[in-house]
């Protein structure tokens, strides 16, 4: 499904500011895999996502999606197959356009943009899809997205990213900027959508509980490398405490969030 071969990203190569963001990363995912990723700041999690989605250029290596080498594809072409959500809820939607217009753009993903007049004929479909979010947005199709709350916008972004089912979904701490209750709700929604459509997913999180609760694999990153991949029986039996222990002993890092969890 997704294959990363020897992926290396070096920023400012050859200067004093040289920074190896990803160092010879190899990753192989099967269809339907849902991997949670943990790692401290600067571990290369976001760079990993950017190199998969095409936002940064690889210094070395290959990205293969469904047997196609997409390493040289520009970002916009890759987004035909890859859905993305960012930490910033404002990033995924166009604020001065209505919910309907936003969904219409999302539903056109991968298709040709024609000179056909924007029509309201998919309104019912959008309404049905919005109903599943259970946020009362189904009656507000004409509302400007800019007037929605962060949680609502992130939920809408989630819907847009999965409206045309992507082959790969990248969730970059997509609930970190939301209040705990909304965050939980958006996370539940994500997991529901992912299971329903059997979407291969990578999710970055800083929450150890979520890292174990969701998905079928957990991966720990440090200094641009994958240092642990927990899956199968081992993962099923693992408790949050054990994961925290594994994380801190393998990365030799203790941050507040982890200490507080203990």
């Amino acid at each position: 499904m997704l294959e990363l071969n020897n992926v290396t990203v070096i920023f400012n190569e050859g200067t004093v500011n040289e920074k190896v963001a990803l160092s010879h990363v190899n990753l192989h995912l099967e269809k339907g895999d849902f991997v949670t990723i943990i790692g401290s700041n600067g571990a290369g999690k976001s760079t990993l996502f950017q190199s998969i989605s095409g936002a940064v250029e690889l210094t070395e290596g290959q990205v293969i999606l469904n047997g196609d080498d997409i390493t040289s594809y520009p970002e916009y072409q890759r987004s035909r197959y890859i859905g993305r959500l960012f930490q910033d809820p404002l990033k995924g939607t166009a604020p001065s356009m209505t919910i309907e217009e936003n969904l219409s753009l999302a539903s056109q993903r991968g298709k040709h943009f024609s000179l056909a007049l924007f029509s309201h004929k998919h309104k019912e479909q959008y309404r049905e899809a919005l109903k599943e979010l259970d946020l009362g947005l189904e009656d507000r199709l004409e509302t400007k997205v800019g007037t929605l709350s962060g949680g609502q916008r992130q939920a809408l972004t989630l819907l847009m990213a999965t409206y045309v089912t992507p082959q790969l979904l990248l969730l970059d701490e997509h609930t970190a900027a939301l209040d705990p209750k909304t965050a939980q709700k958006v996370l539940e929604m994500s997991s529901h959508l992912i299971e329903e459509h059997n979407i291969t997913t990578l999710m970055i999180t800083h929450n150890m509980e979520d890292a174990l609760k969701y998905g079928n694999k957990t991966m720990i990153m440090k200094d641009g490398q994958i240092i642990a991949m927990i899956e199968g029986e081992e993962r099923k039996r693992m408790t949050v405490d054990e994961l925290i222990h594994l994380y801190s002993s393998s990365t030799k890092e203790y941050n507040d969030r982890i200490l507080l969890k203990q």
């Binding site: 520009p74 970002e75 916009y76 072409q77 987004s79 035909r80 859905g83 993305r84 960012f86 404002l90 990033k91 995924g92 939607t93 166009a94 604020p95 001065s96 356009m97 217009e101 936003n102 219409s104 753009l105 999302a106 056109q108 993903r109 991968g110 943009f113 024609s114 000179l115 056909a116 007049l117 924007f118 400007k144 847009m160 990213a161």
Partner: protein, 290 residues
Amino acid sequence: MSLTVVLGALELGGIFAIMSLGLYISYKILNLPDLTVDGSFTLGCAVSAMFTIHSLPYLGLCVSFIAGALAGVVTGLLITKVKIMPLLSGILTMTALYSINLRIMGDSPNVSLFECSSIFTLFEFLGTYHKLIVIFVIVLLICIVLHYFLRTQLGLALRACGDNEDMVRASSIDTDKMKVLGLALANGFVAMGGAVFAQHQTYSDISSGTGMMVIGLASIIVGMTFIRKDKIIFQLIAVVIGSVFYRGVLTIALQLGLPSGDLKLLSALLVVIAIASTTIKRRKKKNVRT
């Protein structure tokens, strides 16, 4: 104020509306400050003048649109492919266009179209108002085209591009192509404004375009302070009304005895006042809330 003065103001207002509608695409929809305008307006003047001299005024209008669009494509490519920042890209194209415009006009800084038949000649039977009618029919046609285009799937993508580029790229749309397309359309209409301007004034001058960007901005901003609606149809109307109003203010100032050399100063001031008025209003609202 005599009828001729009022008519003249309305006619020029209409011509500037054509140009402002173009600028509306780059400034409002794409959110790109595009300084190519000063050059592409003159480009429109020059192309249209040369075609009018050879008795092809209508073809001149079409070709000037294409020429303007090409200028827009150049700026667009500078921004997206060479990664020069938008402001500088516009200035570069504008500067280059100065030489090109001179070439088009046969290396002379101005071309007179006196006694050449223009797009207005055919409609002289309509009487005193014939120029006004022709101009506003053009404005109306452009409004209809834009109103249709901006509501198509492609238009939607273009609008989203100025709103949130990240999101557009995530929807598998090539933002670079959108920018080039938007700038091409924008400068096409600007050049068409210049083309009508040259035929209306019966001359084309190498410096006709100077300050057009500010005039267009003034028209858009003034119009939008009058009509604060988000629907495209209202925004287009706002641009047209803004242009006519703006020209009206300048005409009144001229009638009151303002030397014509001070017009540009007045234009710049008008933009500052219009922007300041919206900022002050917003600040007042904020104060009430807190």
